[in-house]
Symmetry: C2
Subunit: 415 residues, 2 copies
């Protein structure tokens, strides 16, 4: 492959026009859409309309007239269509962490009720920390145990004590992708329920929650869904579970009739009981614009087509880097089908400095301690030539030793 | 009093210029700032800067370079200065309901640890429903009991079984105002902890959490703080409690070192452990603009001066309505010092239609089932003449029987 071939792929790419839905700073190659998606073109004007029109002029009446009350369900239905869930099954609310608390609480209770000896939440040691923190705290509170397995060892730990298998489909460091259907089937065979975190899946992979055996799912609005910094998250419960449990965060928006202002809690039917406080309208409006960029891909093949392009992008990048930089260890699965839309390499010393040197060149990835260079490929706004050029920059940074330069190794900040 | 006197009060009002900080639709008298505060002039431009500049161009780097990571603390410190809390003691996070869950969990645990027989959460039957729902669910989970007292009967129910007294300082229907210092002292004398909901207090009353014996507090960003629809909420723990308990929503932002990505949860020191998920940047940015409008009042006497003006406004309105409308029953305390910045009247039939008829005249209050006409007076953007004129409109609506007209009695929507 050479650069002309990458350009030819872009010229022939039916998804290429989707890039126009985004504000892309000139010259930037942004490989961090798996941490914060880019700004959709529509978002700023939409927020202005919400702020100046709906809030500023419509004021309190906009809860009804502008449909604010419906936003958690309306945006939820749109996300549902991207992850194989039905309308009315998914709502936008709170953060991923808070939603995980709700669904883990529900799953633990349902599992206990069926079989009291099931007191283990099983997850991976490398799962995203907030998932583990939430599970650890909840397990302690419930007299349960959080058991952490090494990658690939989950199946071996599934047994008659397992209440819930809690897995993030795509590993945030390595990008390794769990086969949702197979792992769910193994969990179910062992009598356990499944909680899937779709943080790096929603908008990226052709998730099919119903087909692939999920019992509960949560996901993030600000990564591949392009919802903006700290966008609200989403929560889904399989319809066979949604009505079975009063999740602990019994706020008024999950009440069957919140505006009757009655003192006793009566949960809404279905997933609506997973709502809690007043909907965050600004965040929801921005998230809807982000989700709409993915819906715009539907006539072009939708998520399946985007996923195929993303595999091509990660393959271009990975192959060029791995071939030219033997000092970097590929930390992702080599087979694009076995990783998310992400490529990670490890280097004992170079990681931080190399990522900073790349940023200075206009190629934005991120470093994940202690040694991971992580690059996410959002196919909705990236071109094949971006993957090619980004790889070339990384090859240069490694070959030139630029990663060693002091200005790229002054550690500061938090992300 | 007559209209000229109201105009004279406005002409002499040192707080009058604060109205210029808001976008106020021409001719509107907005008496629902206790439900959704008006739009500050600065908000739209600030959001545009956050969206187009910080997100669109700064992208992931803005977590550091634009100070996004610090927003929960920075805006928290500003709110702290309005409620008698110290810097570093209060953070903005999640919703009021979710924050209530955190602090009630903490208070129950601390109370149990000190005295295991304390298993009662005591509150008022008329407390805002979401507070009761959250407490009810948590009490059930913990094997505790939620006891609800009638107004004025709280003191009688405080005893050696009481773990926590949970009170909203201003009743959302009647506006009745609890004396925080006296009630806190009674709770402490009975050995209980106090959780104060400042939903209708923050930005409205000269709250002094330290002086007045609060142990924990939560509050709302979208009422008198003018943070916008569904703005994030805030949470405060007295420094003597803040480090004593791991609140159950142990998300990564409450970790001592979230970006070390370590699997075990280690809570941050102080109130920071009450953070949970990724900060909602858009909501926080808008909330900061809202809080800044109140900080702009500081050189003019601050909250104390605003509160004095609000008492004048509610007095003008209440006196004119009560004098001219004997068919309306005053549902608020007659003494302005004993109610929040709000006046409520009750009428068995007229409530809904009268509020709708007023809205048609450009006077926005709200109806609270079954029979309450509720009017909130945010002194930062309201004039004395607004209170006078609003009362006149209500008097007209009642005297003319306009409230009976069918077009004002088609019930729809939710708020």
């Amino acid at each position: 492959m050479d650069r002309d071939e990458a350009l030819a792929l872009d010229a022939a790419d039916p998804l290429a026009p989707l890039r126009e839905h985004f504000e892309i700073p000139a010259g930037l190659i942004y490989l961090d859409g798996n941490s914060l998606g880019m700004l959709p073109r529509a978002t700023s004007a939409r927020l202005r309309e919400v702020v100046e029109g709906e809030w500023g002029r419509g004021l309190i009446g906009s809860w009804n007239s502008a449909g604010w009350m419906e936003l958690p369900r309306r945006v939820g239905d749109k996300i549902a269509s991207l992850v194989g869930a039905g309308p009315g099954e998914l709502v936008v609310a709170d953060s991923t962490s808070v939603n995980l608390y709700k669904v883990l609480s529900a799953a633990l209770t349902i599992a206990h009720d069926a079989a009291p000896q099931r007191r283990v939440v099983l997850s991976e040691r490398g799962n995203f920390p907030t998932d583990l923190y939430i599970a650890e705290a909840l397990a302690r509170e419930r007299g349960c145990e959080l058991v952490l397995a090494e990658p690939g060892e989950l199946r071996r730990h599934l047994d008659e004590r397992t209440a819930v298998l809690m897995v993030t489909q795509v590993d945030y460091r390595s990008g390794a992708l769990h086969a949702m259907a197979a792992l769910s089937a193994q969990a179910h065979a062992a009598g356990a329920l499944t909680v899937w975190d779709l943080a790096h899946s929603a908008g990226a992979l052709a998730v099919d929650l119903h087909r692939d055996g999920a019992d509960f799912a949560v996901g993030c609005g600000y990564k591949y869904l392009n919802g903006g910094p700290g966008a609200p998250a989403f929560v889904w419960a399989h319809p066979r579970h949604a009505d079975r449990f009063r999740q602990p965060l019994a706020g008024w928006m999950g009440h069957a009739a919140p505006f009757e202002f009655t003192p006793g809690y009566r949960p809404a039917a279905g997933i609506a009981r997973y709502l809690c406080g007043t909907p965050p309208v600004l965040g929801l409006a921005a998230l809807e614009c982000g989700v709409d960029t993915l819906l715009a891909a539907q006539p072009l093949g939708g998520i399946a087509a985007l996923r195929a392009k993303a595999m091509a992008l990660t393959t271009i990048f990975e192959a060029r880097v791995s071939a030219a930089c033997p000092e970097l260890t590929l930390a992702s699965p080599r087979d694009a089908a076995r990783r998310g839309n992400q490529v990670s390499h490890a280097h004992a010393e170079a990681g931080y400095g190399a990522v900073q040197a790349l940023i200075a060149r206009g190629v934005v990835g991120d470093f994940r301690a202690p040694d991971i260079l992580r690059f996410g490929f959002a196919p909705i706004y990236l071109r094949h030539v971006d993957a090619w050029d980004a790889a070339g920059h990384l090859v240069d940074v490694m070959a030139s030793g630029a990663w060693r330069r002091p200005e790229f190794n002054r550690r500061q900040g938090v992300t």
